[in-house]
């Protein structure tokens, strides 16, 4: 078969000693970078860029791609261990992963995360191989109305991210939408709520907010009482996922792969959206949705698989059309251009060695990462045994450095601290951070897409319903919204009676 030939070509390139080395360097670096909160693939790229000038184009992309999907492996580590998302795509992993760690199940959490990432990444590569050209074209049919419909649908799922009162989740979502509107209005350029600060012109960044609300707030809450209470149960229940874990994770992993892969192709923070969507989906399909947020392995397996599948999916627009969907893929584009390679619709045909070389090296890279990360689980679990009084200053340091190295902007560090305080207060009053973050990510896209669509349609809202994809998504979104509001009235009564007996 033609494809087998191409795979052969690809392997002949991916398996050269030099490229194996570059792949290894990339994936290791990527894991390290993913573990550090804030400092993400973009930062790593800027460090490695000068090295890539002397390399061949294929080698450069192999290495940088390794950093990119490697970061998705490492990102879950801190999410699970200390409730700090290493990558924005790992925010959701904090919800259940950290709870699992507190119950002494950090090992299985990390394990299923590694395996899920491997499966998601590998199956994603298969999809990339066979479907790239077709899907690339399909991605073009997504215009502003479709993006509005998609983000609208995403926002209606917000209530699935919370465990407690729906009203509070909705309030958090609205606050997230408001926070997302801080900055330059994407259509008219007029600054909103910025009070003259140029940093805020870009809005409050997702990273400072996530690290503050999840990481800093968590530590503050833990040290409030006394540090000699062991935050983590010392009896570690096994280092790897057991049979039940695998059984429970089977479908989440499969669903996460498919969902993540397709969502990954869409512009914007597709890894983040993919993992959020996977979490919501797993909660919807679960037989015990109320347990999500207490340490349910499906809440880790699905999202972690999804974010790795999404990084693979992100390569589709890049390689088949030359369209970068995020800052990270934009750098890969730049690297190709510096090497005299023109990415674009003709790329796959003109440079089969690069395309197939990179794609096959992704198999290799994912395998390397799995082998690398599994033994590390043992080490990470031991880290948790360090007494908290020693650990917590280090966690704070982590957060501070992580946010600063993002943009060398001290104001973002302050934003993180402020949101740390806010996050702490939120925990004391029963509000949750996940809906806020999801809204922060989706809100700006939803608003700009809405207004762009109205500009295109010259003011007519029927544009959302005359186009098939957007019509479908909007209707599903409305359905979700209505069904999630309905039980709210019923649940409010339950909430009230529960709270009278509640001593939180």
């Amino acid at each position: 078969m033609d494809v087998l030939d191409k795979i052969g070509l690809g392997l002949s390139i991916a398996l050269t000693p030099a490229n194996l080395l570059f792949c290894f360097v990339g994936t290791v670096f990527g894991t390290l970078v993913g573990v550090l909160p804030g400092f993400g693939p973009v930062g790593a790229f800027s460090l490695l860029l000068p090295l890539t000038y002397k390399m061949e184009a294929a080698s450069a992309i192999i290495m940088l791609a390794g950093v990119y999907y490697g970061a998705m492996y490492g990102g879950s580590t801190t999410s699970i261990l200390v409730n700090i998302p290493g990558e924005s795509a790992s925010i959701v992993t904090c919800l259940d992963g950290y709870q699992m760690a507190r119950q002494g199940r950090a090992g299985p959490a990390l394990g299923i995360s590694a395996f899920g990432s491997f499966i998601g990444g590998t199956l994603g590569v298969v999809g990339l191989m066979f479907l790239a050209p077709i899907l690339g074209q399909a991605a073009l049919s997504f215009g502003p109305p479709e993006f509005f419909a998609l983000t609208f649908l995403g926002l209606t799922l917000v209530s699935y991210l919370s465990r407690g009162s729906t009203i509070k989740a909705l309030i958090m979502a609205v606050l997230g939408l408001l926070a997302g509107s801080i900055g330059m209005d994407p259509i008219s350029g007029v600054p909103r709520f910025t009070h003259g600060s140029t940093t805020l012109m870009d809005g409050v960044g997702l990273v400072p907010v996530a690290i503050g609300m999840f990481g800093v707030a968590e530590v503050l809450e833990n040290i409030e009482s006394t540090t000699s209470i062991s935050i983590f149960k010392t009896k570690i229940k096994g280092l790897l996922p057991n049979f039940k874990d695998w059984k429970d994770s089977f479908w989440p992993i499969l669903r996460g792969t498919v969902l993540g892969f397709f969502v990954g192709m869409l512009p914007g923070p597709s890894g983040t959206i993919g993992s959020f969507a996977s979490y919501a989906m797993e909660k919807k399909f679960s037989r015990y949705p109320e347990k999500f947020g207490t340490g349910v392995i499906e809440g880790v397996a699905g999202p972690e698989t999804a974010n790795n599948a999404a990084t693979t999916g992100a390569f589709i627009p890049l390689l088949s059309l030359g369209i970068p969907i995020s800052g990270t893929t934009a750098i890969l584009l730049g690297v190709l251009m510096i090497h005299g390679v023109q990415p674009g619709p003709l790329f796959i045909g003109k440079y089969p060695e690069i395309f197939w070389g990179v794609v096959t090296s992704m198999y290799v890279g994912n395998a390397m990462l799995l082998v690398l990360n599994l033994p590390l689980i043992g080490i990470w679990v031991k880290v948790l045994k360090i007494p908290y009084f020693l650990l917590f200053p280090f966690i704070f340091l982590f957060c501070l450095f992580g946010v600063y190295t993002l943009n060398n902007n001290l104001i973002e560090v302050f934003i993180m601290l402020i949101f740390g305080i806010i996050g702490f207060l939120m925990r004391k009053t029963g509000f949750e951070g996940a809906p806020f973050l999801m809204a922060l990510v989706l809100g700006p896209v939803m608003e700009s897409s809405l207004r762009q669509s109205l500009l295109i349609s010259h003011g007519s809202p029927t544009i959302f319903f005359t186009r098939p994809i957007s019509a479908l998504l909007v209707i599903v979104g409305l359905a979700c919204l209505i069904t999630s509001l309905f039980p709210m009235f019923r649940r409010k009564r339950e909430d009230l009676s529960k709270k009278i007996g509640d001593v939180s």
Binding site: P186, V190, T198, I331, L346, N409, I456
Partner: protein, 351 residues
């Protein structure tokens, strides 16, 4: 990790015995001694630092601020140049990315830096446009002096491959017949494609609707997918699509035709002599910088841009090398500023 825990246990025991053996006063004395010692070291170090000044520029690392995230087309200019510049200046020139606010965060950081020539800026037209369109920005274009206009990329008027308009005239005719109906995408409010679009409107006397997208890539995708009718993007970002035929270029908004696409007419040929727009990249320092340093930087840049390897790299990326020194650059920017501020006023951008 077990060892760390043991170590802490041992330390706890030891410090207990320490407390017994040495009195409070003695321990305090030791700590005081340590503090004084450290202070002395600090003072000495500071003295040495100040003594090093007075030598010729540059005597230490120069920061080249790139107000965009790494990997973008502007950033590439900085990264292609900085190694050669380091060699020529005999001091490291380091690219520092300070992204945010469409470039304003990085530009502002340079505006706030010391005018000693150790913080230089690589910028696109944002430095000229944003103070005019964004209220409350703490810098003006005249706060900076350009010491080099390095590269440029002209804007191309392009449509989707199977669009019904094969020439610029067709497009303009349709726009005139249906005012307000045709749409164009830009990289965002106040960006170069936006200005190009408004310039187009004014010069061709047509009414087309502006649909701001989030960045050049999204603007291009919108045109590729037919969600908008046309777009005005700089040539570098469009090359691959034009080559593949997914986009059709109707005209180049420049004085000369593009080398790689010699069949695409210029807007001047089509009868619109003022309809030019290009994405340029230039090097800037604060206007208050000393003339000697300014001269050094401009000389070094001119030389670097003559380097064969660098010329090759820029060609690969699709940028035209301008390499205009300070006097020519100043003239160019004067004309640019006039055009840009006029368009901003007419199109009421930023109000």
């Amino acid at each position: 990790m077990k060892h760390v825990i043991d170590l802490t246990k041992i330390l706890k025991e030891r410090s207990g015995t320490m407390k017994e053996r040495y009195g409070r006063r003695q321990r305090a004395a030791v700590m005081a001694g340590g503090l004084i010692g450290t202070c002395l070291l600090l003072i000495l170090h500071l003295l040495f630092l100040t003594a090093a000044r007075g030598a010729e520029y540059p005597t230490k690392t120069i920061q080249m601020v790139s107000p965009f995230p790494p990997g973008g087309l502007t950033d590439i200019v900085a990264r292609i140049l900085n190694k050669k510049l380091s060699t020529l200046l005999e001091q490291p020139v380091v690219v520092v990315n300070k992204a945010g606010g469409g470039g304003t965060v990085g530009i502002q950081s340079v505006a706030a830096a010391a005018p000693d020539g150790y913080t230089i800026l690589i910028s696109t037209p944002t430095i000229m446009i944003s103070p005019l369109t964004v209220k409350g920005l703490p810098f003006r274009f005249k706060d900076f002096s350009p010491f080099n206009l390095s590269t440029s990329m002209p804007t191309v008027v392009s449509v989707k491959k199977d669009a019904p308009w094969k020439t610029l005239e067709d497009l303009i005719a349709e726009a005139k017949k249906n005012p307000g109906k045709l749409t164009y995408s830009s990289a965002g409010p106040g960006t170069l494609p936006h200005l190009a679009g408004e310039l187009f409107k004014k010069d061709t006397a047509t009414d087309i609707t502006h649909v701001p997208m989030d960045g050049a890539a999204k603007a291009t995708t919108a045109a590729l997918g037919g969600h908008v009718n046309m777009t005005f993007i700089a040539s570098g970002g469009l090359r691959s699509y034009l080559e593949a035929g997914s986009l059709r270029a109707l005209a180049v908004m420049a004085r000369r035709r593009l080398e790689e696409f010699p069949n695409v007419p210029t807007t001047i040929e089509k009868g619109y002599p003022k309809l030019i727009n290009s994405a340029w990249v230039g090097g800037f320092v604060l206007a208050k910088t000393s003339p000697a340093i300014f001269k050094k930087l401009s000389e070094v840049f001119i030389e670097a841009l003559k380097d064969k390897e660098i010329i090759e790299l820029f060609k690969k990326v699709g940028m035209q090398i301008e390499n205009l020194g300070p006097e020519e650059a100043a003239k160019f920017f004067e004309e640019e500023e006039e055009r840009v501020s006029e368009i901003i006023k007419i199109a009421k951008i930023g109000q």
